[in-house]
């Protein structure tokens, strides 16, 4: 650990040194943050991390080289170093090309990922981290063509990057859709070969009063379905043992994004049609453990401001077409989000609260936070993650309600 820490710090100082040698077209910035969180149930500290987020860029009129390096220690004092992004970007007159590891963010909504098809997520701690940290980079090539306010973007990802799931022994391990605790076999990932590439395209237009986009992709689902490998049925007892294996599978999706200004408010919507998405079901009915269904996922929402407070409301619905009773998920899953934000004291203090509400259970996640900018380069923050309900996407974590505090220094 000490060795890799020293190596990573050496890289950071090297980048910083380069930045200082030629300040005109080289920049080095980022932040250092210390963050701790404790569970309300027993006040145990489940998060104690120190992070250095270092960003280096070298740019000319036509080219940008960008690197984002993350150095972190976690609550077990385990050191991690990761390259969040590393890419080369070429700016043409009417087109751009970016090659390398990069985050590609699509969609019009806040805190929801419906048409955000390209970049996988880090859900190892559910939705607790900042959204900047939830999104992972994908490795590939992105090209953008521009004509006025029209934009066409195509993406090719030869390397598959899955979404990170919570570890089975973590606080954030989700409730499993199986009647007994299964044994998990290592997931099957697509081999590294040309024919396993992922392909995405998006057309977008930004105009007076309305922004519009259409997108589609043929890709590997970032989260695996679980296939039953073996099961043991004991007479008069029933199912007593189960082995399952995660499978990443090919799927396709097509969607839209829309935002419009109507008077003082912004209305927005996005939606996607998913082809042959896998849903887990009763293994007595589906021997494989899942079945494929087409699905629609959409959102409608609005952003507006009242007396200095910014509000965002969203209603999200996922519909499984041709739904069958043996599926784990309901035919309709309804969720809403509410975002409130307000700044005080000449923008030095910011209050915000993001709430997810699940209608089925019902359940909720409330994420309030207050941030105080002590100086322009330093801020402290405190807040909480409050899970309400007994079941559902949020209620299943009702024992994980917690509070946190952090200090952040920008450079």
């Amino acid at each position: 650990m000490k060795k890799s820490l020293m190596r990573s710090l050496a890289i950071v100082f090297l980048l910083y040194g380069i930045a200082q040698l030629s300040a005109d077209n080289i920049s080095f910035n980022g932040y250092g943050r210390s963050k701790a969180g404790a569970l309300l149930s027993d006040w145990s500290v489940f998060m104690q991390e120190n992070t250095l987020d270092a960003r280096f860029s070298w740019d000319t009129d036509t080219t940008l080289l960008y690197a984002n390096l993350i150095l972190a220690t976690d609550e077990d004092q385990i050191f991690n170093a990761a390259i969040r992004e590393l890419y080369l970007h070429y700016y043409g007159d009417s087109f751009d090309i970016r090659i390398g590891k990069q985050q590609i963010i699509w969609g019009k909504s806040d805190a929801v990922f419906i048409t955000d098809l390209v970049s996988p997520k880090d859900l190892s701690r559910f939705l607790v981290p900042d959204f900047e940290e939830l999104r992972l980079a994908a490795t590939g090539v992105r090209a953008n063509l521009y004509s006025g306010n029209h934009q066409l973007e195509v993406v090719w990802l030869p390397l598959f990057t899955p979404t990170v799931q919570p570890a089975a022994d973590s606080l954030w391990a989700p409730a499993l859709p199986f009647p007994v605790q299964p044994t998990f076999l290592p997931s099957i990932k697509p081999d590294l070969k040309l024919s396993n590439g992922e392909y995405f395209a998006r057309y977008s237009w930004l105009g007076s009063s309305v922004d519009f986009s259409l997108m589609g992709g043929w890709f590997w689902n970032d989260t695996p379905s679980f296939s039953v490998v073996s099961k043991t049925i004991t007479p008069s007892v029933g199912l007593t043992a189960l082995s399952v294996q995660g499978e990443y599978y090919r799927t396709a999706s097509a969607g839209y994004g829309l935002s419009a200004r109507v008077g003082p408010v912004v209305l927005k919507s996005e939606g996607a049609f998913y082809f042959n998405k896998r849903y887990q079901g009763n293994i007595a009915i589906y021997p494989q453990g899942y079945t494929e269904k087409n699905a629609i996922h959409y959102l409608v929402g609005t952003d507006f401001s009242i007396s200095g407070t910014t509000l965002g409301l969203q209603f999200i619905q996922e519909i499984i077409l041709d739904h069958e009773a043996a599926l784990v998920d309901e035919a309709f899953t309804n969720t809403a989000t509410l975002l409130l934000a307000r700044s005080f004291a000449r923008d030095t203090v910011r209050l915000e609260a993001l709430t997810y509400i699940g209608f089925a259970a019902p359940d909720a996640l409330i994420k309030p936070q207050v941030t105080w900018k002590i100086t322009d380069g330093m801020e402290i923050a405190a807040g909480g993650w409050f899970f309400l309900g007994d079941s559902g996407a949020f209620g299943q974590y009702s024992d994980n309600s917690s509070i946190f505090a952090s200090a952040k220094i920008y450079f």
């Binding site: 019009k108 007076s208 912004v266 000449r346 322009d376």
Partner: protein
């Protein structure tokens, strides 16, 4: 319309001076034409219609100074241009570090009642988002300027009357009181000092809805740039809270032939 922020305001609505200076050297006389609302409107219309460059780029340094004299500095690169009745602008933060790379884009329309289109790009979230154009009375980036203060306001939105005249640093000015037709406007009235010889105003007093003086805007520096008299330094003082904000424009360039295609999502996401 309301959101023709900095450039609209500073290049057009106010304007003036080499004459700034000692407001203490003012000599005030009673309004000779105090009942002439028609001529007051004409004066304000001339200020509004004053010639201005088709496009501009500049570095803006905004310094927020609290009652104890503590300063916070924001550095912004901005570009703006007019295309007929449409004005487009991008403001991109250069500092402080926590907001570096954040961009705002606004498209403002001359048509009465047509609100601005506005977008924000947050580097951390890596996407451009359309935002509400409401909250015009809100503070601009924590400063003493509100979005309303920075907007170019059409004279027809107010009624005007001359309430006096005054010499400031040797420049004879009309003192014109403007009262909003829309009672939801941020202020109950605004009093402007407008040169009698130039279509320029160079001081403004803003009164709150209770009728008390809230803020005073003064112009500290003007320069002739590309044949246009440009305000390059202003200060807004909140007299009720005793804090102030200065704005200084540097590296100002005008009429460089900026194309409309510059004002896009792409420009927001890359360094200007």
């Amino acid at each position: 319309m309301k959101n023709k922020r900095i450039i609209g305001f500073s290049l057009c609505a106010l304007a003036a001076i080499a004459l700034l200076n000692p407001l203490s050297a003012q000599t005030k006389t009673k309004a000779p034409n105090a009942s002439s609302s028609a001529s007051a409107s004409e004066i304000m219309m001339k200020v509004y219609a004053r010639s201005q460059p088709a496009d501009m780029s500049a570095l803006l340094t905004m310094t927020l100074i609290d009652s104890k004299g503590h300063e916070r500095v924001r550095s912004i690169k901005q570009i703006s241009a007019s295309f007929g009745t449409l004005e487009k602008k991008i403001m991109q933060f250069q500092g402080p570090a926590d907001v570096r790379g954040t961009s705002f884009m606004s498209w403002s329309y001359a048509e009465a009642g047509k609100g601005d289109d506005q977008w924000i790009y947050l580097p951390a979230l890596k996407r451009v988002k359309r935002i509400s154009s409401d909250g015009r009375g809100d503070s601009f980036m924590g400063s003493d300027f509100s979005y309303d203060d920075l907007a170019e306001r059409h004279p027809n939105e107010d009624t005007h009357k001359i309430i006096g005249s005054e010499a400031i640093a040797g420049e004879e000015c009309w003192i014109i009181e403007s009262s909003p037709r829309d009672k939801n406007y941020s202020y109950s009235r605004v009093v402007s000092w407008v040169s009698k010889n130039k279509q320029l105003g160079f001081r403004r007093d803003f009164y709150d809805k209770g009728g008390a003086l809230l803020k005073t805007l003064t112009i500290l520096k003007m320069e002739d740039i590309g044949g246009f008299l440009m305000i390059t330094q202003t200060e807004m003082r909140n007299v009720q809270k005793n804090h102030r904000t200065s704005m200084v424009f540097t590296s100002v360039e005008v009429n460089k032939g900026m194309q409309e295609s510059v004002f896009t999502e792409r420009s927001m996401m890359k360094a200007l």
